[in-house]
């Protein structure tokens, strides 16, 4: 491998890692909901893409950062809706029922998006599109860096929320000991609902960032983001937020690495094998979540 290839390889991995911030955001959403409710919300990525679509309603009236904000807010609303429809009224002891209801929700959201947009890809605004930083022969995409930074801000914000606020306290308490938390006067339903809203805010941001990074939104995005998000969640450790962050970056980088080495047809095979390696050697994930919960 000559120097040119090596530079390309590094560039590839760098791009992948920056893009992986989007995966991290989706992974955090999955892991947050799983950590608190011990249920998978398969409709999460679809709701995130849906939130990005909803933010397109205001795109011609407001500056771009506000569009992202609207996406985040819409994500929160959709998150709450998903909670209400798919989780609130289903018995806690039956995880299969919520699995299926979120699958139904995923299909419904995807179909609704296709229906309303006639399946046409929609242009999504990106910031810093032309701002590219060149360091020697390396080329860092300005907008991906922005996505990465927004991701970091969101993650820090989330961690602060969980550690410093009462809501965060309630969330962690319900996650660790639901019955005891109830005895202490924390409402399970309202706490769960707020968890979904918070995860939804994050998801809306993720959807917006994915749209900004690709440049177009399409209903085709929902399923692959779901799968990647789940892979990231598992590699990072179920219920662990720092795990999801690191795992997202790893998956993003690994994806590009495999693509560079083996081409696009085999890329996903290797990503899946990477998952298996983690499952075999480190089934708890990168970081086991705090509090002794798995």
């Amino acid at each position: 491998m000559d120097l040119l290839d090596l530079i390309d390889l590094t560039q590839s991995v760098l791009d992948g890692v920056l893009f992986g911030a989007t995966y991290s955001l989706i992974g955090i959403g999955f892991t947050l909901i799983f950590g608190v409710m011990h249920k998978i919300n398969l409709a999460y990525a679809a709701a995130s893409v849906g939130a990005a679509y909803l933010s397109l309603i205001v795109v011609s009236h407001v500056p771009v950062p506000v569009v992202y904000l609207v996406a985040a807010l819409m994500g929160g609303v959709l998150g709450w809706l998903v909670y209400l429809i798919c989780f609130r009224f289903l018995p806690l002891s039956n995880p299969l029922a919520t699995l299926m209801s979120t699958v139904g929700m995923l299909l419904a959201i995807e179909e609704l998006i296709s229906h309303l947009t006639q399946g046409m890809p929609m242009n999504y605004p990106a910031m810093f599109q032309s701002a590219n930083i060149e360091i020697g022969s390396f080329f860092i995409r300005g907008d991906l860096l922005f996505v990465f930074l927004i991701g970091c801000v969101a993650m820090v914000g989330l961690t602060q929320l969980l550690k410093r606020t009462r809501l965060g306290l309630a969330t962690r308490a319900v996650a660790q000991q639901p019955v005891a938390a109830q005895l202490c006067g924390m409402g399970i339903n309202s706490t769960n609902a707020s968890t979904f809203v918070i995860a939804g805010l994050l998801g809306g941001t993720a959807g917006a960032m994915a749209g900004a990074a690709i440049g177009v939104l399409s209903p085709l995005l929902a399923l692959p983001l779901t799968v990647k998000g789940l892979v990231v969640t598992v590699i990072g450790g179920l219920g662990s937020i720092p795990g999801a962050i690191v795992a997202g970056l790893i998956v993003g980088g690994a994806e590009n690495l495999f693509q560079f080495i083996r081409g696009v047809s085999e890329r996903d095979i290797y990503v899946m094998l990477l998952l298996f390696v983690f499952l075999v050697f480190r089934p708890g994930g990168l970081f086991s979540p705090p509090g002794g919960r798995d």
Binding site: I85, C86, L96, A97, G104, E111, P178, L223, V231, S265
Partner: protein
Amino acid sequence: MDFYLGLAQVIGIHTLLGLSAWCVLHTGQVSLAQGGFFAIGAYVAGMLTSMWQWPLALALVTGAGIACVVAIAVGFPAMRVKGLMLVVATTAFAEIVRLVFFNLEWRIETSEGVVGPNGSLGFGGIRYFPSNGWSAFEVNALIWSLVGGVLLLLWWFDRSRVGTLWRAVGEDEIAAQSAGINLTATKVSAFGIGGAIAGLAGGVFAHYTTHVEHSNFGILLATFAIAYPILGGLASLAGTLFAVIFIQGFLLEGLRFLGEWRSLLFGALIVLVMLVRPDGFLSRALWPGRVGPRRQQTASPSVDDSDTARQEGSRHA
């Protein structure tokens, strides 16, 4: 009439797929890998009849057999993980299978021309049924005798010791282990049998569509596979059949008059069913006062791999 026969074929194949997931779900594991075994059965059986002119029965059995072997091979490491991790691991496995077939190119010259899987362009020309003059009725007879056979087999398992072992592992792993049940053997056997059934279904699928490609075997198919037993209720085998008829017969074909709204309603109706009957259609008596299924408590496989929840007694009926 031909249309109803065709629809019955689809329902039959999907019932087999649902039953394969039922086996695995019954032992408490949520597996999204059934689509992968379906694919293996489809490609293997399709290749055997179209490229080497094997008789159908032998090709189907070989497809099912290979799927079973792969299932057992995957089953051993897969049983190390539980819950959500198993879901993701099986999804990953199914994706790997799909991608392998995406890349598989193996074409040979036969009397009918060049046949064989052509990578991403798919695998067409599996014309065993029409070339040999099978009528829609005969294909149906084949499919439904397979369905009947599998139902009988699973019903017999259910009533025998095997079924007890599966249910025990499904309801409470720790208790089962304490009772001396070999967890790994039980789970892997269920996985293997499920894989064989899915492989059988896949083999027939390839023949009645005459053309398969990697996109047929994606995550959506795997999701449908587990949707059938979950919607139908794990307590009864009939539930799966009922769910397949509901989804394929009613939702997909029966609601055609709704036009574009059909797809929109599809997801919404699944959510509705889960809200109204979280344990599945046939898990409780349809009307109060009528005789219901034997068991009150259904073994709900856990995607929650925390033991504390179970200790809290959160498993209420």
